[in-house]
């Protein structure tokens, strides 16, 4: 009978999952999925969607026309 050497294998799966979730949260919070959502919505309404660049600039123009940062 061969004895297999004992190798400690840390279970990093939960850590990877947690890091992935944080990354996804940050991407969502930064609005990186906004364009995809917008295209989906525009197509559902039968409108021609803007290009990513047009959408990005138009979102910024809109966002910064009202108070977005507090004292």
């Amino acid at each position: 009978m061969r004895i297999r050497p004992m190798i400690w294998k840390p279970n990093i799966h939960p850590l990877v999952t947690a890091l992935r979730k944080i990354w996804e949260y940050l991407r969502e919070a930064c609005g990186e999925y906004d364009y995809e959502r917008y295209v989906e919505r525009a197509r559902a309404l039968g409108a021609e969607p803007m290009t990513p660049q047009e959408f990005y600039v138009s979102q910024l123009e809109h966002k910064h026309s009202r108070p977005t940062r507090c004292c």
Binding site: Y25, L26, R27, E28, A29, C30, G31, E32, D34, Y35, R37, Y38, V39, E40, R41, A42, P52, Q53, F55, Y56, V57, Q59, L60, E61, H62, K63, H64, S65, R66, P67, T68, R69, C70, C71
Partner: protein, 687 residues
């Protein structure tokens, strides 16, 4: 299980009471900052668990089955149902500005006790309630703004009052925060270089985001952060180089002009080029640094060297004049209760909530977190030796222009400090001097560097931490300046468009230039006035800012109270009426004292009177007569601005009170302007 829960909450209450008791009664021996953290955390937990729940379900009768505007009006742009923690992050990033960091630092002149109690209690019973109820009201009205709600629910006059209040507050806020940056960067080549570098870094980020990877904010911000950190480290070599240090060393007036020009440029340049990338960068740095500060305080557990109460509660403080009531409550606005938050709560946030009841976490919860930021700032100020704290924050006009005079004056107050201690401290953080660095930012940076260097890197890294803290503060203050100037311009264009249509068009360049110049000129004037003020500017400008911010809070609470009464919840109107009554008492007392106090250090008019008498009696040298006339004019202008703020509070109070009375007497039928109830898609299958 129920018993365990009860025991848990009883334990939280007992720990909170013990911590508060220690904070309030400890004298002599320095208190550990952990007790402040424990008291705040316990009160926040109890406030959130019980008080916000009471407001949500008993007072507002929130309904998770009711479709929110984000669901009903979903358009993929403005109205987007969003996960509650993402909305929480957005909302917190929007409300957390320089106020909760700088206000507590300044109010620490009274000792740490009054400010801490106000931050925690005011946050739980006032600020969080205002944010939460305003958010709820806006959600029920398709995401309407505070001004629109004031117009619909109170009267047209109430709406216009809110509009003017917002415009005024934007001007004053920008001026005062810009003054904080000027005082942090004057004669500091390291600091000025770092902040100057953030401009090309932001431009680079803007071009990358616009043309190369549109919308890839996360990777761009991380790249920007690496570059900014490199700029902080590179600043050391600038400060050490005789030639470069000269290029980046400027006095307060020169830096004020640079900021004014920068503000104008940021306002007229395309938003994607400078404003937006700076905003991303500053949000990352801000949230990361606040998180790191919390970890640092818990890891280091510093002792609080500032006494709980100082002799300056009597109103003779060097940083700003006035007794602990009302000025502690005016100085700390953000962190306890801030009217500006109501603009955020009735802006983007209500259009993102996917479930109505999430307003509790987002509105109430994020304000508690902001309040905790205020507590951390108070701790950062309190870990400094009191003598050092006062030497940094006192203007030359009060303690004397030379180091010798300053240490003598401050030591005579009972806070011993020597020239050698100050020189060593300045050398430790890589500055030439720390005397008269008013505005709060430098002392906060010294406190943060003290905490961070104890946690990571030791004394070696102290100058890097100090300049990192300065960069962190200046970066998001300048972002507020960019964003505020632009919003002010839009509001002014909207207003002027009623008189001449082209001025209202945001795409017409002459109109953009004229209105931008008007807004920048308005805050630039107050900034310049603060810079040349012999008393340091903070003494006159910070109370104006506090009064204007609390004025906006009073408007928001009037709107909320009116809506509660219209909802048939008059018996619960005390929830918003109590903080409103407190704010009115504070704002009116402070306004009265700032205008009419016979003490020239406090009252604008008596100060102007004293200067006039000095000119009349010939005690002012001929070379300073023009300057003195300008100071007199500024005093009178500040008095007039304070009077306008107080008048606006009275107008909105009168309008609201009149309506409440008419409802009570049955002479006017309360009409609730809510969007009709519609069942959420999530529950539609059940029907």
């Amino acid at each position: 299980m129920r018993i365990l829960k009860r025991l848990f909450w009883m334990g939280v209450a007992a720990l909170g009471a013990l911590a508060l008791g220690l904070i309030a009664t400890r004298r002599g021996e320095p208190l550990n900052a952990v007790w402040l953290v424990a008291a705040a955390a316990c009160l926040y937990a109890i406030g959130y668990r019980f008080y916000s729940r009471f407001i949500a379900y008993r007072v507002l009768e929130m309904n998770p089955r009711r479709a929110t505007p984000a669901e009903r009006l979903e358009d993929g742009r403005d109205f987007v149902p969003t996960h509650k923690w993402v909305v929480f992050g957005h909302h917190f990033a929007a409300i957390a500005g320089p106020g909760p960091l700088v206000g507590p630092i300044l109010a620490a002149q009274f000792g740490y006790l009054p400010g801490t109690l106000w931050i925690v209690i005011g946050g739980v019973l006032g600020g969080a309630v205002q944010d939460f109820v305003t958010l709820f009201c806006s959600v029920r009205r398709n995401g309407k703004s505070l001004g629109e709600m004031a117009k619909d629910e109170i009267s047209e006059l109430g709406g216009y009052t809110a509009l003017f209040a917002v415009l005024f507050i934007i001007v004053i806020v920008i001026a005062v925060v810009a003054l904080v940056v000027v005082n942090a960067l004057k004669s500091s080549p390291w600091g000025l270089f770092t902040i100057a570098m953030t401009i090309p870094i932001a431009l680079l980020m803007g071009i990358y985001l616009r043309y190369l990877r549109p919308g890839r904010v996360l990777e761009t911000s991380l790249g920007g952060f690496v570059l900014v950190t490199a700029a902080v480290i590179g600043g050391k070599y600038v400060a050490e180089s005789a030639m470069l240090a000269r290029v980046f060393s400027h006095g307060a007036e020169a830096i004020a002009w640079m900021i004014i020009l920068y503000g104008f440029a940021a306002c007229v340049l395309p938003v994607w080029l400078l404003l937006a990338p700076r905003d991303y960068l500053s949000t990352f740095v801000k949230l990361g640094t606040i998180f790191a500060l919390a970890i640092g305080i818990i890891a280091v557990r510093p002792a609080m060297l500032l006494p709980p109460l100082t002799r300056f509660t009597d109103g003779t403080g060097p940083i700003f004049a006035g007794k602990v009531f009302p000025f502690c409550f005016i100085t700390i606005a953000c962190g306890a209760i801030s009217g500006f938050h109501s603009l955020i709560s009735s802006g983007t946030t209500p259009k993102l909530l996917s479930v109505e009841t999430h307003a509790r976490l987002v509105g109430y919860g994020s304000m508690l977190l902001e309040s905790f930021v205020g507590v951390m700032a108070m701790i950062a100020a309190s870990v400094l030796q009191p003598g050092i704290y006062f030497a940094i924050n006192s203007p030359a006009g009060v303690v004397g222009a030379t180091a010798e005079k300053a240490v003598a004056t401050i030591s005579a107050w009972g806070f011993p400090v020597t020239q050698q201690t100050m020189a060593e401290m300045a050398s430790k953080v890589g500055e030439l001097t720390l005397f008269n660095r008013t505005g709060g930012a430098p002392s906060l940076a010294v406190g943060m560097a003290h905490i961070f260097s104890n946690f990571l890197g030791g004394a070696e890294l102290m100058p890097i931490w100090y300049h990192f803290a300065i960069m962190f503060e200046a970066l998001f203050i300048l972002t507020l300046l960019d964003a505020g100037t632009r919003v002010g311009r839009f509001m002014l264009q909207d207003l002027l468009g009623h008189f001449w249509k082209p001025l209202g068009r945001t795409g017409w360049y002459p109109g953009v230039m004229v209105t931008s110049a008007a807004i920048v000129g308005a805050w630039g004037y107050f900034l310049y006035q603060g810079v040349v003020d012999p008393l340091g500017g903070i003494n006159s400008l910070w109370p104006l800012f506090g009064i204007s911010n609390q004025l906006l809070a009073a408007i928001a609470l009037c709107v909320c109270t009116t809506i509660l009464i219209k909802m048939g919840k008059t018996r619960f109107a005390w929830v918003t009426l109590a903080p409103l009554a407190w704010l009115v008492a504070v704002t009116m007392t402070a306004s009265y004292q700032k205008i009419w106090s016979p003490d020239p250090q406090l009252g604008f008019l008596s100060h102007a009177q004293r200067l006039s008498e000095q000119i009349a009696t010939g005690t002012v040298p001929a070379s300073s007569i023009f300057e003195t006339h300008r100071l007199i004019f500024n005093d009178r202008l500040d008095a007039a601005v304070t009077a306008v703020f107080a008048l606006l509070v009275l107008v909105i109070l009168f309008e609201s009170g009149r309506n409440w009375l008419l409802y009570a007497l049955g002479r006017k039928k309360p009409v609730l302007n809510e969007a009709p109830m519609q069942l959420s898609r999530r529950f539609a299958a059940e029907v």
